[in-house]
Symmetry: C2
Subunit: 64 residues, 2 copies
Amino acid sequence: MMITLHVEGMSCGHCVRAVTQAIQALDPAAKVEVDLAAKMVKAETGLARDAVAAAITGEGYKVA
Amino acid sequence: MMITLHVEGMSCGHCVRAVTQAIQALDPAAKVEVDLAAKMVKAETGLARDAVAAAITGEGYKVA
C-alpha cells in the first residue's frame, strides 16, 4: 500500500535519513521517498498509516 | 583556542550533531557550540582552524 503523508519540519538530508530509517525499522522492506520541498513522505509498505505516522512523529516531526 | 567559523547549510539538530561529531572525531575534548540562526560554529579546541573547517566541509557544509 502506498501511504502519503504531509510532514512538517524536515529540512535536510539527515532528516530524510531519519524518517526513512524510522519507517524501515518497522518494515525493512518499505520503500520510502521524501520530498523536502513538497514536505511529503511516500512509503510503499505493509504498515498501517498510523504506524508510519507514529514512526515519523517519533523522530520529532509533525504529521499534518 | 576558540575558533569561530561562519557555516552555510546547517538547518536542524541533525546538522548540529553532524558538525559537532565531526570536530570531536578529531579532538574528543573539543567543546562545540552551533548557532543555527546565526550560522556560526564555535569550537574550543587545540585543533588548527583549517582542521576544524575541513571537518565541517567533510560533512557537506560550506565554511564561508
